[in-house]
């Protein structure tokens, strides 16, 4: 392996390690900072949340010929 390839390899390894580190740091920050905070407001103040929901048949209108149905990811 030439020195250029070696540098490329080390850079790639550093990038992977950096991404892992960032993700490891970011995940708890987002979860305990944003999600949990919002969740508490959402659940307790707005009285929303799936834990209190009930099963039932909700009305939808979904058909194979609905225009643009297949183009969306949501």
């Amino acid at each position: 392996m030439g020195w250029r390839d070696k540098i490329k390899m080390y850079l790639a390894m550093a990038r992977i390690a950096g991404r892992k580190f960032l993700l490891a740091a970011l995940l708890p920050m987002v979860y305990f900072g944003v999600i949990s905070g919002y969740a508490l407001i959402w659940r307790w103040l707005l009285r929303r949340g799936l834990m209190k929901s009930r099963g039932g048949w909700a009305t939808i209108a979904e058909s194979t010929d609905t225009p643009n149905l297949f183009n969306r990811t949501v």
Binding site: L23, L27, P28, Y31, F32, I35, S36, Y38, A39, L40, W42, R43, G49, L50, M51, S53, R54, G55, G56, W57, A58, T59, I60, A61, E62, S63, T64, D65, T66, L69, F70, N71, R72, T73, V74
Partner: protein
């Protein structure tokens, strides 16, 4: 000419399907190629096969469609965490990197092959796929897989599974080239997840052990039904299921149920592979009874709301053939058709069909023999030349059979009590072996169930085997008069064929129960005198039909034992090599390999090596 490639992957049981001008050309699960059971990864090999079968290149494909809308699924996941936070961090830490890695990049993975190299990924970009990547709603894909291949021109459609995006069940109507859904049940209330929760609690694997729970149920008594209804889940008059989420952990945890659930049912979950106790048998019977009640209530509601005479079913719960049998006997609908690949793998097919008929406005082709599913023989086939080349290269001892002697040779071996591997034509699409990749046995022998479970399949002794019966003789053996080509209906063995059990089974010794003779076809009669029927039709599988016809001539019985060609934890065999290796590892006596006959005693001696048992993770 319009060609659509349907893909399902990233969750469990990845698959690909190719549809041309409304006709299903090919469909296969990735696990059959990768040899990893329930393989969820991008189905490169399955895509490769589908294109090979259709003799098309990537550039010929008009549309590629994914079976799910990832944005909606992520929305549901975030809402789940919002409902349990600050609990649930461990699950969050596991889920989010997966989303960042692949699920957010579905389109990129499909188009440019970032995920892995190979025909499905890299080649799509390299060879030049320039068309759109589309997305179907998960349950619309199920519904399309249920209706479009069915024999009906119009029918009610009911889908029930664990969860797909937000929906856990849905119903609507299929008419001609259109499927529309009008109602859905939403997460977290799910009949499929409830069944999976009990599967997990009884020590079996979620998403693969559900059928074991179903097989265990007849040994138990449904004594926990009231407990389930009082504490865990309720069924509305319209079949809607409401779960008490205080007992479950799947919203934000890594397990299906919590300690409260365990306390309610008398202690911690059964440790996987440990002894099955009476509690698990009773729990299995109870959740099975609950599920049947819910499915029947849903079907009643769908009948009332849609007014349709026929019903199409799909979704993982539609693989519960005991519930299907009850639905059939209830006569709510004149006829029922169930997608043989009812789980998520079948959604690849459903998505492709939905786009063909909905997006491309292709006309729906007329039905063939029984329906539009081609007997579900949609996988790879191998020519005699290919097989012979393999056998020669491998140094196997074999005999080529004339066309006229094929059925008779297999039937004669079965009549002598031998166990035969049958490798014949195109591989099945779906979880059941239907006579293309099957292990066959004599149903009259008392020891067949035990022998095949323990010495050939290496699996739990209590698990029942299914009968494959000539379609024209089904009423001779069972209280059933319809067709069941996909082994998705359970029906009782006729009273006049039953034998009284010598003792009431009340203990925990499953082997003693298994050994009791229950009818004149004991190997395929379950403890409760039921059987999971496959009706065999000459139109869809002529060789298999001939084998059973010849067996009938020799023995007077037109039923054979049919089980999947694999060992426990292994995906069903796909290639001649998979089949030969499985044949040599087990106590099978003969192998029919696409016109060639292999006798175990004549094969080259191989050293006894059980290390392969580590190759497959137990299911």
């Amino acid at each position: 000419m319009t060609i659509t490639l349907g893909i399902s992957c990233f969750y469990h049981d990845a698959a690909a399907a190719l549809v041309r001008d409304g006709e299903i050309i090919a469909a296969a699960q990735e696990e059959r190629f990768s040899r990893r059971k329930g393989d969820p990864s991008f189905p490169e090999s399955a895509i490769n096969y589908c294109m090979e079968e259709a003799r098309v290149r990537v550039g010929d494909i008009d549309t590629v469609v994914f079976y799910d809308k990832p944005g909606l699924t992520f929305d549901r996941i975030v809402h789940s965490f919002l409902s349990v936070a600050p609990r649930g961090f461990k699950a969050w830490r596991e889920a989010i990197p997966r989303w960042m890695g692949e699920k957010f990049h579905t389109k990129e993975i499909i188009v440019s092959g970032l995920h892995e190299s190979g025909i499905g990924g890299e080649a799509l970009a390299r060879i030049g796929y320039g068309g759109p990547v589309l997305y179907t709603p998960h349950h619309l894909a199920h519904a399309s897989a249920a209706f479009f291949p069915s024999p009906f021109d119009r029918a009610a459609v009911l889908t029930i599974d664990g969860v797909g995006e937000w929906a856990t069940a849905s119903y609507g109507v299929g008419k001609g080239s259109r499927v529309s859904l009008s109602r859905e049940m939403r997460f977290p209330h799910s009949l499929g997840l409830l069944y999976s929760a009990f599967t997990y609690f009884c020590g079996f694997k979620v998403n693969s052990g559900e059928y074991k729970l179903m097989g265990l149920a007849p040994y138990g008594t449904p004594c926990y039904v009231e407990t389930i209804k009082n504490y865990v889940a309720q069924i509305g008059e319209d079949g809607a299921v409401t779960l008490n989420l205080d007992y479950f952990d799947y919203m934000g945890g890594l397990e299906m149920v919590n300690d409260r659930f365990a306390r309610l049912f008398g202690g911690p979950r059964r440790f996987p592979e440990s002894r099955v106790t009476r509690r698990e048998m009773d729990l299995a019977a109870s959740i099975q009874a609950f599920t049947e009640e819910a499915v029947l209530a849903m079907a009643r509601h769908v009948r009332k709301e849609t007014g349709e005479k026929y019903l199409c079913l799909a979704g993982g719960v539609a693989l519960n053939c005991v519930a299907n049998g009850k639905l059939y006997r209830d006569k709510l609908f004149d006829e029922i058709w169930i997608q043989p690949s009812a789980g998520d793998a079948g959604s690849a097919l459903g998505a492709a069909l939905a786009v063909q008929f909905g997006h491309h406005r292709v006309a729906r082709p007329p039905k063939q023999a029984l329906d539009r599913q081609k007997g579900s023989y949609l996988g790879p086939r191998f020519s005699e030349r290919e097989v012979e080349a393999y056998l020669v290269a491998k140094g196997c001892a074999y005999r080529k059979l004339d066309m006229a002697e094929r059925g008779d040779t297999v039937a004669e071996a079965l009549a002598q009590g031998a166990v035969v591997g049958l490798f014949n034509g195109r591989m099945e699409f779906g979880p059941r072996s239907l006579g293309a990749r099957s292990i066959l046995g004599d149903p009259r022998r008392e020891d067949t169930q035990r022998t095949m479970n323990l010495r050939i399949k290496y699996r739990e002794s209590f698990r029942p085997f299914a009968p494959a019966v000539l379609a024209e003789d089904v009423e001779t053996y069972f209280d059933y008069s319809g067709v069941s080509p996909y082994m998705l209906m359970v029906a009782p063995v006729r009273e006049d064929r039953r034998k009284k059990r010598t003792e009431q089974f009340i203990g925990e010794d499953l082997l003693a129960a298994v050994n009791q003779v229950r009818s004149d076809i004991p190997a395929v009669t379950h403890w409760d005198y039921s059987a999971r029927i496959q009706t065999v039709h000459a139109e869809t599988n002529p060789l298999f039909h001939e084998v059973i016809s010849r067996f009938k001539k020799k023995t007077g019985i037109s039923v054979v034992v049919n089980t999947s060609f694999n060992v426990r934890g292994e995906p069903i065999v796909c290639t001649p090599d998979d089949a030969y290796r499985c044949f040599m590892r087990t106590d099978m006596d003969y192998l029919y390999l696409e016109g060639f006959w292999l006798d175990k005693r004549e094969q080259p001696v191989v050293e006894k090596d059980d290390s392969w048992m580590q190759e497959f993770e137990l299911d």
